[in-house]
Symmetry: C2
Subunit: 274 residues, 2 copies
């Protein structure tokens, strides 16, 4: 089963476009142990999400024990739910092959986020895993996305476009196996709309829903594809840290994920028309 198929199945089964970002922050977690924390979050939300997305940085910050916790977390997630490793990889070809092996073979993730700055050949080793998702950073959710991504670029065709659109058009070309998606921050709905127009078929991973202040309605309206899906809407802090108490953090996470799922579904076409 490919990443796209697994994702579609999870979206259908759980009637959800919500992805929970498993980003354990020692200063915010209600319990100290990363695996125990993630286990509680996963058990509380596994019927409400279409995917999980651990961000590598939160695990590597803890050194080897963190990487062990990442491996254990991966193993805790029910097999029918896709897991996206958010690691923003990308290096010269020979080296990317090793990052691809890490994410897809060693750790068995279903998808990986990658950075396009090094160009096509840096991403080829990832793209060659046809059954895995390769989610290309396009327009990110942070203020610094303006520094380079929004700059006007003159392409090989002589047309002037912002860099993020050039990246999107390239990613569309790289999508020969249907395994390429884009990362588009929720905080820039106008850019999201533009990208949906350029790439009607591609899956968009949208971080920044919730804690980063993305406007949910604009994101869903501008981001859905014609099938009423094509979006993975990620929330991390809003779900993980809905309560900071060890007594009810899992329950609070469930409530937050449920609220988000239902708010999103209220903006989608009714299930019968999907």
């Amino acid at each position: 089963m490919t990443f796209a198929e697994k994702l579609a199945e999870a979206v259908r089964r759980n009637e959800s476009l919500v992805c929970v970002g498993l980003d354990p922050d020692p200063d915010l977690m209600a319990v100290r142990d990363v695996v125990a924390f993630n286990r509680a979050i996963i058990e509380a939300t596994a019927d409400l999400v279409c995917a999980y997305k651990p961000n590598y940085a939160f695990y590597e910050a803890l050194g080897t024990p963190g990487i062990v916790a990442l491996e254990k977390t991966r193993a805790l997630i029910p097999a029918h739910l896709p897991v996206i490793l958010d690691a923003k990889r990308g290096d010269i070809g020979n080296t990317s092959l090793f990052s691809a092996r890490a994410a897809f073979d060693t750790w068995s993730f279903d998808a990986l986020t990658v950075n396009p700055y090094l160009g096509r050949d840096a991403l080829d080793p990832f793209l060659g895993y046809r059954d895995r998702g390769v989610l290309v950073l396009c327009h990110t959710s942070n203020p610094g996305s303006r520094d380079f991504q929004d700059l006007q670029v003159t392409g090989a065709d002589g047309v002037s476009r912002p860099l993020y659109e050039v990246v999107a058009l390239a990613a569309r070309e790289w999508n020969a196996y249907g395994n390429v998606g884009l990362v588009v921050g929720a905080t820039y709905p106008a850019q999201l709309a533009r990208l949906r127009a350029l790439c009607p078929e591609m899956t968009f991973l949208v971080p920044g829903v919730g804690a980063q202040g993305g406007e949910l309605e604009a994101v869903v309206r501008h981001g859905l594809n014609v099938q009423g899906a094509g979006l993975i809407l990620n929330s991390s802090r809003q779900v993980l840290y809905a309560s900071r108490s060890s007594h009810d953090f899992a329950e609070a996470a469930r409530a937050a994920a449920l609220r988000l799922r239902d708010a999103i579904n209220a903006l989608r076409p009714t299930p019968s028309s999907r």
Copy 2:
């Protein structure tokens, strides 16, 4: 001691601009054990280099044991030699903070390579470590560097420049603490010359010397700063895999590093004038 000071001291002490990339490839290593291999390489070359540069991808490909091997490798390198973690990190601000902790606190690396695509705020957490080096990808050594890095961009000042020059100018601005450098591939000496003109003071990490076919003479002539330094010339495969035999790989690595060091020094101003 800052990264810049430690580097300058190592350059002087070993009379070398050579960095050895510790990129253990199981298909090429003369011995199976990563730490034993790296130990032999380090012992054979520690008096010939100005730095070592392990690339994270080669370690993560092995899973947790690989990360343990990275930590052990870090600990094997003599304290007076700077160690650059080549991991090309960069994420939204909150997340980059955790990658910065991993590289600089948890693992005590002296410098880290970062990817500029997400903009300034994504790099701020790294830049805040004033005594560590932050080496920003600018023009990479691979063919795909043409895909985006060479595109003509119209900046805020209305001037048209290739994207990699815009990145270099931004990195120059980010260099308030003198801890920022650029990554510039050896395979594009014309771009290297242009970058040296734009950033006369900055340190350039130059991968692709040797195995990737960079022309050494052009690189050294165009890349040196006015003090006859400012370059970290990295070679990985040419040194590590000079011999594939367990009997003489360390000796062969030493010979290759020595040849490279001397070839570079022959192109530098004489020591008395440096």
